[in-house]
Point group: C2
Chain length 440, copies 2
């Protein structure tokens, strides 16, 4: 059988890795796929760089549309990134009847509905294992491996840059700015790290996982997105003393009244495997009603780990494109005419537990006053950590840190009571509030 011919749009880090791994393992991949898979045409604005990677045997052009127009090309890999020209080219490739493989989480989290509808109408596959958690086959696990389950929740470390920064902050007791600079020097963070450190990248990924888990459309605009830039070293230390580590989590949960969809720093019990995922590694925990808790761990970024996912998608297409389109694995796990209308909940409706740090005057009755307000709102307390008074204020008064872990509560309820607590004259600085996920 003649090889599947693949056209590659954009040959940067992941594209180069894809080309190299396909070459290196071509025999083995062919034995698995049943036929050869070859990149025969590459489009990149930097044709010199592209030629340096692929050599003379592959046609290199600077016009992506020439790849899409090539009738010999069966599959187009989009590795350009972003929502702009990438979206246009993916839609054009679909219209031309090409299967598409993409690692573009931003594109799918924002425009997935339009893209998958176009692919469905045309009867082609759009595969995107590389869009979430790099080389970890988490899309396949969610979409095919756990189909028996009513999935209850997902919580993942899905951004390596921020996990590297948080690991370093904890290990070395350094603050965020210092570690960010180190991460940039080592290549773990980009020159403009905004998408990573502000949680946007993780939110793209959890948006995609949420859609696949719960059968809802991708709704990036409804995700709550909060990064790690405001995280203080002392909160990492206090969390540790209470038996927790702080991780940037993408969380999505099925509740009776809707879907939670959120990215923010979270306390995670130190004994959980997820809390022990260090450095730039990724891991996703998935809880289903039948299977219970499962975890998937690996490299979430990098040239060859991401290429591993891109190529797995190529093999999937090579193996399965002969299935009639009505029967194939649906793009978002559920058939498009059987999506759920569960709404994404606003943050005020989210129910979780919290770590609260308050700078308070070291006076009798402060703890009673604070816990009294929480109790009056029905918020019960899991643990309290009161530090020794450590600072002399004006007129000989002393101050201290009061740390409280709450049990589950509605975030809207907490917001209201924290406004009251903040207004107490004995609360001397803005209250720090970090969500906590027990993952049990």
């Amino acid at each position: 059988m003649k090889p599947i011919q693949v056209g590659l749009l954009g040959i940067g880090t992941v594209g180069s890795g894809t080309f190299k791994v396909l070459q290196r393992n071509q025999e083995e991949i062919k034995r698995r796929a049943g036929r050869g898979i070859e990149i025969t045409m590459v489009a990149d604005l930097d044709t010199a760089r592209a030629k340096a990677v692929v050599g003379d045997g592959v046609k290199v052009v600077d016009d992506a549309r020439a790849v899409i127009a090539n009738p010999d090309i069966d599959i187009v890999i989009e590795l350009i990134g972003g929502y702009g020209i990438a979206k246009q080219l993916v839609l054009e490739a679909i219209a031309a009847g090409k299967h598409v493989v993409t690692a573009n989480k931003a594109l799918l989290a924002v425009h997935g509905t339009e893209i998958f509808a176009a692919a469905h109408a045309k009867g082609v596959m759009v595969a995107f294992e590389a869009a979430v958690a790099g080389g970890i086959p988490i899309i396949k696990a969610l979409r095919e491996g756990l189909t028996a389950n009513s999935i209850q929740w997902i919580a993942g470390i899905i951004n390596g840059t921020t996990n590297f920064i948080l690991s370093e902050m904890r290990d070395k007791g350094l603050d965020f700015d210092t570690v960010l600079k180190e991460a940039q020097r080592l290549g773990y963070a980009e020159a403009d790290p905004t998408f990573d450190i502000e949680g946007v990248d993780a939110a793209h990924k959890v948006t995609i996982m949420s859609a696949i888990a719960f059968g809802i459309p991708v709704q990036f605009d409804r995700a709550h997105v909060e990064g790690i830039t405001k995280l203080a070293a002392q909160d990492i230390k206090y969390a540790e003393q209470l038996g927790y580590r702080i991780k940037l989590l993408g969380v999505t949960k099925r509740k009776a009244n809707g879907i939670e969809l959120r990215v923010h720093p979270s306390l995670v019990p130190s004994k959980r495997l997820l809390a022990n995922v260090e450095g730039a590694m990724n891991a996703v925990v998935v809880n289903g009603d039948a299977v219970g808790t499962t975890l998937y761990y690996g490299k979430g970024a990098g040239s060859e780990p991401t290429a591993s996912a891109v190529i797995a998608d190529l093999v999937d297409i090579a193996r399965l494109h002969t299935a009639d389109a009505a029967h194939r694995v649906p793009h978002l796990a559920f058939h498009p005419d059987a999506m759920s209308d569960l709404k994404v909940l606003p943050m005020s409706e989210v129910v979780t537990s919290y770590y609260l740090r308050m700078r308070v005057a070291d006076e009798a009755g402060v703890l009673a006053k604070v816990t009294g307000l929480l109790a009056s709102a029905g918020i019960s307390i899991d643990a309290v950590l009161q530090r020794e008074a450590d600072e002399v204020g004006g007129e000989g008064s002393t101050q201290t840190d009061l740390i409280i872990l709450t049990h589950d509560t509605r975030e809207g309820t907490l917001d209201e009571v924290l406004a009251q607590v903040q207004a107490l004259p004995t609360v001397l600085a803005p209250i720090v509030r970090i969500r906590k996920e027990e993952l049990s």
Copy 2:
């Protein structure tokens, strides 16, 4: 589209779970599969028990062949177990043109070649996600998620009973026999626990994973199988002091000269996630040349976790059976005409590192003598732990435990040198030897 009709052979723990989960999640499963999936006929010798589970709407018979002969049945689930009648029935179901789903690791590890050949010839699918690591979709990850990779090695905790026993031995400092009794009382170990504690169950599972990872036929008879019954509490304690935990691992590795395939207790560095998999949980680490190290964690047994895998297979078949048979995902990941002829290596050719415990006379020169013998065989030493002398032998002499961690060495070489060490008059008891996997 009319529902897929499924016949179930054997409705014990996993069969009941499969029926219940299919009923409970039928709407959601249908939305994923594109059509309903219904168990419409059950065969079990205990028809009363079967009827108690499935109620009046499902036909219950005591003759499995009546299910296979039913022309309305599309898929047969085999949950009888063992190599006997189960093998015959699976072959008959295939001959009748039914797709088969089975959780029977013993059957596939021993007779997989014959069964897959029959299925291939007939153009039907034999799916077996539930055969390895229960609810963890590890077969799918290996066969489809990591197809880009030249897989280098797999190491897994794939037997919950033994992991529960080892976790308890470590936590409570108890010996094997005591913990086994507790595990039997709690239902974590069967009345006859031989298959679990002697490593046979784990060997069935790693045999299947090895075939899928490396494209070799299943060869259970070539696997090295060693259980945990001889493990002493003191070795768990010494390992801990050296920064390791002892786990029963299924290990399979690709080497230049062949494939390693073995089950035995292993030291694992405490800092690895795999070392922190506790109780009856399972986890499998897979290393591929492109993706690096990935890990898959979850419940490896139990009614609904195993049902989760059985039903995922049903959904896979519902989704993909329309693909032409030549293109479907091959049973063992590689197309049957493209298998590797790599041989399974004898244990003497295995290369790994070792924990050695020797009871030695507390005399000057013993350590020098032992390490000298190891050095002369080219075996280098990673760490030594010498205990204080703790026992008075005859005539006022004292004894001590000498623990040595070696670097990688050929097992055959170690066997030879250990025979020399054992013959030393200052080595007072049989040397304990446990393999060590760094998993790096």
